[in-house]
Amino acid sequence: MALTAEESGRLAALLSEHVDQVTQRWVETVAASLRGRLSQVELRTQLQELHRAIVATAENGVVDLDAEHAAELRAVLAELSRGRARQGFSATETAISVFALKDVLLELLESHGGESTLRDYVAFSGLIDAMGLFTFESYVRTREGLIADQAEQLLELSTPVVKLWEGVVAVPLVGTLDSARAQVVMERLLQTLVDTGSPYAIIDITGVPAVDTQVAQHILKTVVAARLMGADCIISGIRPQIAQTIVALGIEFGDIATKASLADALRHVLRLTGVETTRRSRRGA
């Protein structure tokens, strides 16, 4: 992995002497593997930057990718793999961008190398392997970051608490309700009850694909917690199949009001609070 000062000097000389040839061959090889999903111009800019960083690092006499002087090279590699990960390239396609340099170097050494060609090639290729591994690691880290971000966004997006009426809030649950989400829903609902001073909450489960004992347990806990705080909960949006499942599983909702639709639940709450709704006769009818 480590290059001696002599070897890195030779690498720098070799690369900087044949700049155009190296980048041209490099871009061609990488472009072939990416099959036109990245424009030649963009690819050329990226690889030229990487080329410059390698030469600069090698000229400094750096022998190791982990060394302090190689910080710039590491930054360029990390930037390259971050970009690839975001654009949706696979790990192999990202790593090939670096490994393609080996073929180019081999060609160069064959035509221009002296007596130490073989030893040089082994040393250079060790460095390129290290660079490839580093690229791969950055790629995985970026991907993990993306996944974590998305999971968090999903958690936030999927649990809005909306105000339906004066003193009535509703939580339309969409998607599977696991422990983590149930916790978020419960916290957000209770906090909204305090903030708005609403004594009624409607939990709408139209968007929940399946209700098993665990989901029911989560919903019941939320209702009991809301009751402890002095608010009443109504469960609405129970689809026919879900009603059958609930009965088949023997889940008891006790004295918690359940309604078929959100509209029914709202009407129920309005009646409890003493709000009367009337239909005004249309003009001209």
């Binding site: 419960m186 916290e187 209770l190 906090q191 009850l193 305090v194 001073g197 609403s198 004594p199 806990k221 009991v224 917690a225 809301a226 009751r227 402890l228 705080m229 002095g230 608010a231």
Partner: protein, 140 residues
């Protein structure tokens, strides 16, 4: 030893718990409250626990006991201002504070006590209702 103050507002006794409850404080509060209910003849007790960060099984039992004592003395107990975190903890612990009425804040608690009293003795509120109607009726 710290004592929890009991305030009388109209027909209601307001207990705002601002200190950490110890066994002694809790017992003292039960005694004081029973005495005050008898002395004032109030029919409602509101216990405000907004300031309580932690409600454990001991405090939960204290609240239940106070509610039972008040019930015997013909007073309605409402616990108000429970924080979301406290409610979640109680549910996770499996304590549901059976037999205790709850409300979001003191204002709602007072409404609840008034409503409960109105259900029991409709004559007390007849005068107030009539004066309300007199203001709003304006038929041509």
């Amino acid at each position: 030893m710290e004592r929890v103050p009991i305030l009388k507002i109209g027909d209601i006794l307001l207990v705002s718990i601002q200190v950490d409850m110890s066994d002694q404080t809790a017992l003292q509060l039960q005694e004081d409250l029973a005495e005050r209910i008898v002395a004032t003849g109030c029919h409602g007790v509101i216990i405000d626990i907004t300031a309580l960060d932690i409600v454990d099984s001991f405090v939960g039992r204290m609240l239940s006991t106070i509610a039972s004592i008040s019930k015997v003395l013909d007073a309605e107990t409402v616990v108000v201002g429970m924080r979301p975190a406290v409610a979640i903890t109680l549910v996770e612990l499996g304590l549901s504070l059976n037999g205790i009425r709850t409300a979001l804040n003191v204002e709602r608690g007072m409404e609840l006590v008034a409503a409960a009293r109105a259900d029991e003795s409709p004559y007390d509120h007849e005068l107030a209702d009539e004066s309300d109607e007199a203001e709003t009726t304006g038929s041509p």
